[in-house]
């Protein structure tokens, strides 16, 4: 189930909108994107029970592509009449499609790999090793191993294995702050401020992806009952109020949902 959006020229699921834009059935320049975001916020207001995190993150992906398409369509290019401009939308679509196709191939082959591993597991290798009476003059394997290195090896062996977390790497391939890191950051900053607008919280950020990650982090905090989110009027500032404890909260105390890829 995709998020429904409503704009003067289109009503329906957002991925259909992208499809129509890509097939040139709808001109992206005629689509105001603000109502699209309104639709998203409305969808959130209706309650998260209706939408899984997958659907919501898919919305963000599609919305990001729409924004990119529109900005490309609006910005005057060096040769506006060049027919290549026509292909811009197709490039984006093809990129998304080829990613989906490649992923599908890996998903299919992963299943085969699992079956191969299962078949291979039916044979157990011999690891009994040498008889005790064989004379071994092999070099000392512990040469260069210090107690410190041993302790580090232990720490590495028992280090918690983090579960996969969501971020929007598919929008940008630059390493960025993850949602739980942003949650951690906000959980320190918000108790100090009590109230803030989204703009204030993100004014120091330059990359769009970081702003989006802060937004997702706020949704997490809202879900955890630590903040309330409000908006005075349409297109008004997003207002955040901290309703958790007064003391800054360590992230260990916040259980952020683990998203599986």
């Amino acid at each position: 189930m995709a998020v429904e959006v409503s704009t003067p020229v289109f009503e329906g699921p957002i991925d259909l909108l992208l499809h129509l834009v890509n097939t040139h059935e709808v001109d992206v320049r005629d689509v105001p994107l603000a109502p699209v975001v309104d639709g998203f916020v409305a969808a959130l207001a209706e309650g998260r029970s209706r939408y899984s995190m997958d659907v919501l993150s898919e919305f963000l992906l599609v919305a990001a592509i729409l924004v990119e398409l529109k900005s490309q369509a609006l910005l005057p290019g060096p040769d506006e009449v060049e027919p290549e401009d026509e292909l811009v939308g197709w490039d984006q679509r093809d990129l998304l499609l080829s990613r989906l196709l490649e992923c599908r191939a890996y998903a299919a082959v992963a299943d085969t790999l699992a079956k191969m591993a299962e078949a291979a597991a039916c044979s157990v290798p011999r690891v009994a090793g040498l008889e005790d009476d064989v004379v071994v003059h092999a070099p000392d394997l512990l040469r260069g191993v210090t107690p410190d290195r041993l302790a580090r090896a232990f720490a590495a062996a028992v280090a918690p294995r983090p579960e996969p977390r969501i971020d929007l790497s598919h929008v940008t391939v630059v390493d960025t702050v993850t949602v739980s890191e942003a949650v951690e950051e906000l959980a320190v900053e918000l108790p100090r401020r009590r109230r803030a607008t989204f703009a204030e919280l993100t004014e120091h950020l330059t990359a769009k992806i970081e702003v989006i990650v802060r937004f997702l982090a706020l949704l997490e905090l809202c879900k955890l009952g630590r903040v309330t989110l409000g908006q005075g009027r349409s297109f008004g500032q997003l207002e955040i109020e901290w309703v958790g404890e007064d003391e800054p909260v360590g992230v260990g105390a916040l259980v952020v949902d683990e998203y599986r890829g």
Binding site: L61, R104, D111, V124, V127
Partner: protein
């Protein structure tokens, strides 16, 4: 070295090894051409199979090792008192497949493909010993590049990466492309 002696030497050495023994190492030990050693090992493997032995001499991860015959897995499992198969999660398997086919590959490249953060999965696969850092990319930040390990080959019962099934066989055909495009539409539209 006589054929007989060579076969016996291979049996003796592989029997005491803890890991697959490469033909190259045996060639050095026995002072024989590597092709001859490899052919002798392959012949031994055929002999065991023909004689319906309860073990096999398998070519795994670039070397030869003794292992129990898969047909006797029930006894071996009962003996070892353990479930020999423990599956990775789907997410881990798909990530492993990407590393296997696209190595050397960076975290960001995997993430771009899978559409999610893969730090946790990559770390898990690294801890399990299925993948390892194999170098660094030239680009900004010089991200770590990952590749699969010998253990990965062993777990899959493969001799080398060349034995992985060709990924082309798994790429969706033209019909699937059309279907994928249509799946961008909601059902019933």
């Amino acid at each position: 070295m006589h054929d007989d002696e060579l076969a016996r030497a291979i049996e003796a050495v592989v029997m005491v090894a803890l890991e697959p023994v490469s033909p190259g190492l045996m060639a050095e030990l026995f002072e024989e051409p590597v092709e001859r050693v490899d052919a002798a090992a392959a012949e031994l493997a055929r002999t065991y199979e023909r004689d319906r032995r309860g073990f096999v001499l398998a070519r795994v991860a670039g070397g030869w090792r003794f292992q129990s015959h898969p047909e006797l897995v029930a006894y071996v499992e009962r003996f070892a008192n353990r479930d020999v198969s423990h599956r990775l999660s789907t997410a881990a398997l798909e990530t492993l497949a990407i590393v296997a086919y696209r190595q050397p590959v960076s975290r960001a490249q995997i993430a771009a493909l899978r559409g999610v953060n893969v730090d946790g999965v990559v770390r898990l696969l690294e801890q399990r010993g299925y993948i390892q850092a194999v170098g660094r990319a030239d680009g900004p930040g010089q991200p770590v590049l990952f590749g699969t390990t010998e253990l990965f080959l062993e777990r899959l019962g493969l001799d080398s990466l060349a034995e992985l099934p060709p990924i082309e066989d798994y790429l969706p055909g033209p019909e699937a492309v059309v279907e994928l495009e249509e799946r961008l539409r909601p059902p019933g539209d």
